[in-house]
């Protein structure tokens, strides 16, 4: 392969992080990855939550893991062999985390090397970061060209997201983009939850997308079938986010409609 060719096919690595746990980082990673793959991109998901892996569970690939990221680092297998192909998408792969080791078994440079190698093969490398701002997060961030910060519209989550944005800015990453997850429109309307504008005003970074709170997400996670395949509002939200990542202009979802309204809208768009 000539130098210029290698340069042309260079992909982009995106770290998905949040600071606070339980806001939907892994779900977001999986669904962004799936939605990008549905757009015809070659995507590799990298789980860096070593010791607490769960991307494989969300994707329903748990029983297919033979080698994980630590096996690659400790050279028990080469990178290509450790990649697990998704059940549904041809161009979606997962590099699973090890379940038996801990965060200290990988260094920033080791991850950087793996990501660099993956970027030669894939259009997008989505890195799922562990919660917190310690070693695991720092290592995950080290391998990324871009960052996505996930938050829910709650004070505690927004605080932690703010802290993480500050830390990401210290790395030489471009300003991260924001996804607000689990928006309950009936709660924001009566003031029981921060609304999208409030969150964006505090965090002052570009909004990549909003995802409505949707029971289907939990169901899909348990079934190991990412919601991005689905025609639910959340599924559509993730597909929109994937389009925005590729530079398309897509308007934000309208959330303050009744569910039946969504159905009707889907009909207009020819989904149902």
């Amino acid at each position: 392969m000539s130098f210029s060719e290698g340069w042309d096919t260079m992909g982009e690595s995106i770290v998905v992080t949040s600071g606070k746990g339980g806001v939907g980082k892994s779900t977001t990673s999986v669904n962004i990855g799936t939605a990008l793959a549905l757009c015809g991109k070659r995507v590799c998901l990298v789980d860096t939550d070593i010791g607490l892996r769960n991307l494989d569970v969300l994707m329903g690939l748990e029983n297919r893991i033979i080698y994980d990221i630590i096996d690659v680092i400790e050279e028990r297998c080469d990178l290509k062999k450790a990649l697990i192909k998704d059940k549904r998408c041809n161009d979606l792969y997962l590099l699973a985390a090890a379940q038996t080791k801990d965060k200290s078994s990988i260094t920033s440079n080791q991850l950087r090397r793996i990501i660099a190698e993956l970027k030669d093969e894939f259009d997008y490398v989505v890195i799922d970061s562990p919660a917190g701002i310690e070693l695991g997060f720092q290592i995950a961030a080290a391998g990324a060209d871009q960052a996505i910060v996930v938050t829910t519209p709650e004070n505690a989550a927004v605080r932690d997201a703010d802290r993480v944005i500050g830390l990401l800015e210290k790395e030489k990453l471009p300003t991260p983009k924001l996804i607000i997850n689990r928006i309950k429109s009936h709660l924001t309307k009566n003031g029981g939850m921060m609304d999208v504008d409030e969150v964006v005003a505090v965090l002052a970074i570009h909004l990549l997308g909003i995802v409505p709170d949707d029971e289907q997400v939990i169901r899909a996670g348990n079934l190991g079938e990412p919601i991005a395949f689905d025609n639910s509002p959340a599924g559509k939200a993730y597909r929109n986010i994937a389009k925005r990542i590729q530079g398309e202009m897509v308007p934000l979802l309208v959330l303050d409609r009744e569910v039946s309204m969504f159905r009707r809208m889907k009909k207009w768009f020819g989904f149902a």
């Binding site: 703010d162 802290r163 500050g166 800015e169 505090v202 965090l203």
Partner: protein, 222 residues
């Protein structure tokens, strides 16, 4: 000296009086405590009793604030015969210029970040909850102040905190700390400033600032 540490203060006698070299690589607080030890310690005290003597203080590359100068002068005041003639910094005026000057910085102070400043600061941007902006002088925020602001952090009780949106988690002026009421009336956070009255922090609308800072008031030449 015994353990090889260079003293922070070197004293030399010259024909014009005593020369005090204050090491500019040490924190100023260390220098102060070493100086206090040298001047006030009983064993050393005898050396200082004597005829009146001029003192020249060399600060090296360090520049000091008005408050730091006052602290130094206070220490020397314990020895009546030592008279400070002047301060000197290498090639620069010894005082950090900050009086009545205002400097601008832009950006966002996020949760967990601390922005410290010497002098009066105009900050264009937001200070988010969990973030801290601290200054020895006034703090003016062109943006939303949602975190903690500490003005006059070295004891200046005249310092004020002003913001386009004054919705802090905590305000501090000099050594006074105050917390806003638990429930905010959204109409009462725009264009406000905080200042000290009777050792308490008061918040007023910015239009009333001319009462507190009447010396700064602009008057049309009618």
């Amino acid at each position: 000296m015994v353990n090889g540490v260079k003293p922070g203060i070197t004293i030399k006698g010259t024909k014009d009086g005593l020369l005090f070299y204050l090491d500019d690589s040490r924190p100023f607080s260390d220098i102060l405590s070493e100086l206090r030890h040298k001047l006030e310690d009983d064993h050393a005290a005898k050396i200082w009793d004597g005829p009146e003597m001029n003192v020249l203080i060399k600060l090296g590359k360090r520049q000091i604030t008005k408050l730091e100068e006052m602290a130094l002068r206070e220490l020397f005041a314990s020895r009546k015969n030592l008279i400070i003639k002047h301060f000197e910094s290498d090639g620069k005026p010894y005082l950090l210029e900050q009086e009545s000057e205002i400097q601008m910085r832009v950006g966002t102070v996020r949760s967990g970040q601390i922005f410290s400043f010497e002098g009066n600061i105009l900050f264009v941007g937001d200070i988010n909850p969990g973030g801290v902006i601290r200054s020895t002088g006034d703090i003016y925020v062109l943006g939303a102040l949602r975190g903690l602001a500490h003005a006059g952090s070295q004891g200046d009780q005249q310092a004020i905190i002003a913001a386009s949106v004054l919705k802090p988690t905590q305000l501090r002026i000099a050594d006074v700390i105050s917390r806003p009421p638990d429930r905010w009336d959204e109409s009462e956070v725009g264009m406000r400033f905080a200042y000290l009255v009777d050792h308490q922090i008061a918040v007023e609308r910015l239009v009333h600032l001319s009462k507190i800072r009447s010396d700064k008031e602009w008057k049309g030449n009618r």
